[in-house]
């Protein structure tokens, strides 16, 4: 019997795992399972170019002509519903199963929804291509958009919607947006982009309920204020798609728990990307990372673990970017709340600067706004300072 690897998940992490298998000379059967009917596509543009209408579906496609040579066995439009740890069989929603010698878990995450808003028209989350198509259709009708959550997705949707001419209000529970990823000081700086471009930002207030029958009409805040809304976007984070593994014996701990090399506690099963909670030597605990570059790079390590090869890869420095109101925000490294933040180039007031986060006098992270050249140099410097994986 030919050896088989099942890759569960057909987005960036899953596709990257399939490519890594072939790049690392695996010549068995590779089955790629995806719950969406679409071929792998790129998600970052969904809140930006695709939502704005400047990107087409073809622009989003991740696959290239070179992928045909990978000889992958695609099972799209069929969700995985279970994994048997003994036989390493992946059960699919259509009743079939894929028996495999190795399994790569890459089922990603889904948008967290606001409880009690199911069935109310005009209320959106944004994670999938279908989400983006539906949201764009509603945005094109114009009117008032209320974005719940001022994280990156919320901020990018607000920016795109302003570009489409909507009246936009962003509501954030926390006193300062983006304090988690950027720290309070830089979060506040980046949040000023909203006011610069005519978006109202209301911080430190929760949402009490959505008002409307059949279709949303307003958002009622915890302080009693009522915001008229033709469209609502809920951007309050993502939850890993791991419930299907509940009976598999794979340990779940805020995601599929893995070691630094992506191995789960079930032999022959590795996990990557947004669904994985992987041991981070830097943080001293397992962390679930939702960054695009992480989903791109981590499968190289996971596949090496699965095949028993050694790629000698250095752990990548966490990196993410955002684009809002024409500004490019880039962040690399691992920040802590006690870090000193120093602007080393440009100025926050000009909305073009580079800020370095330092701990014990050592740079640990860097934030750039419209400073791609300098940022890239700092990101590289952080990378070369990383020790190799044990």
């Amino acid at each position: 019997m030919t050896a088989t690897v099942a890759v569960v998940g057909a987005s960036l992490a899953g596709l990257s795992a399939a490519r890594a298998l072939r790049a690392q000379s695996y010549d068995g059967r590779v089955v790629v399972i995806g719950d969406e009917a679409h071929a792998p596509y790129d998600r970052p543009p969904l809140s930006k170019e695709f939502l704005a209408g400047t990107y087409t579906w073809e622009d989003l496609a991740l696959g290239t002509a070179a992928d045909e040579a990978l000889d992958l066995d695609w099972r799209l439009g069929t969700a995985a519903v279970g994994l048997d740890r003994g036989s390493r069989a992946v059960r699919l929603a259509d009743g079939s199963e894929v028996r495999a010698d190795g399994v790569v878990l890459a089922t990603g995450a889904r948008a967290r929804r606001l409880p009690g808003t199911e069935g109310l028209a005009g209320v959106h989350v944004l994670r999938s291509l279908d989400d983006a198509v539906a949201l764009r259709a509603d945005l094109l009708a114009g009117g008032h958009l209320v974005v719940i959550g001022a994280g990156f997705i919320g901020a990018e949707v607000a920016s795109t919607a302003r570009g489409l001419g909507l009246d936009v209000t962003v509501v954030e529970t926390q006193p300062v947006p983006l304090a988690g990823p950027l720290g309070a000081r830089m979060g506040a700086v980046c949040a000023e982009l909203h006011a610069d471009h005519g978006t109202r930002l209301l911080c430190g207030t929760g949402v009490a309920r959505l008002v409307g029958t059949g279709r949303v009409e307003a958002v009622e805040l915890a302080d009693g204020r009522r915001l008229p809304a033709d469209v609502v976007v809920v951007g309050i984070g993502a939850v890993p798609n791991v419930e299907w593994l509940a009976d598999s014996g794979v340990t779940l701990q805020g995601g599929v728990l893995t070691d630094a090399r992506c191995a789960t506690d079930v032999p022959g099963v590795v996990a990557v990307g947004d669904c994985a909670s992987s041991w981070s030597p830097d943080a001293g605990r397992a962390v679930r990372v939702e960054h695009w570059t992480h989903a791109l790079e981590q499968p190289t390590t996971a596949v090496a673990t699965l095949l028993g090869t050694d790629t000698g890869t250095r752990p990548a420095v966490p990196y993410f970017w955002s684009e809002q109101y024409g500004h490019r925000i880039q962040f690399a490294g691992t920040r802590g709340d006690g870090d000193d933040v120093r602007v080393v180039e440009g100025s926050c007031a000009d909305r073009s600067f580079l800020a370095v986060y330092e701990r014990d006098g050592r740079p640990v992270a860097v934030l750039g706004v419209d400073q791609p050249r300098l940022f890239t140099r700092w990101r590289r410097q952080l990378r070369s300072a990383e020790p190799a994986l044990p």
Binding site: L12, S16, R19, D42, E49, A61, L62, T64, W292, T293, L296, Y319, W321, R328, Q330, P372, R373, F375, T376, R377, R380
Partner: protein
């Protein structure tokens, strides 16, 4: 041919963005004394590859980390899917010159 700069103004490991007398911006790189030129704008999104990171004969886009081979213009992985055009570079009397529209030798 478009004169770019004297060779000593573009030391090894550095890049320069050329916008004058070219139909579209071109990035010229010095890799250990060899000069290479490619379209400056990443085929994925609007970013200047001259701002990118040079490693060996590849440049990494400063925004989304697409890598392009300077000799062939080919991307090595996502998000870019389309190659950038290469342009021939010659050095005449100590000045780097660009032959825009003439693909470099060995390019795709």
């Amino acid at each position: 041919m478009v004169p770019v700069c004297p060779t000593d103004a573009l030391p090894p490991g550095e890049a320069i963005r050329v916008t004058a007398d070219v139909p579209a911006p071109v990035a010229v790189f010095n890799v250990d004394g060899e000069f290479y030129a490619i379209d400056d704008t990443c085929t994925h999104q609007d970013a200047s590859l001259a701002d990118g990171w040079l490693e060996g004969c590849a440049v990494e886009c400063p925004l989304h980390a697409s890598c392009f081979d300077l000799r062939t213009g080919m991307p090595s992985g996502p998000p870019a899917k389309t190659p950038v055009r290469t342009h021939a570079v010659t050095v005449v009397d100590g000045v780097v010159h660009l032959q825009v529209g003439v693909a470099a030798e060995g390019a795709a």
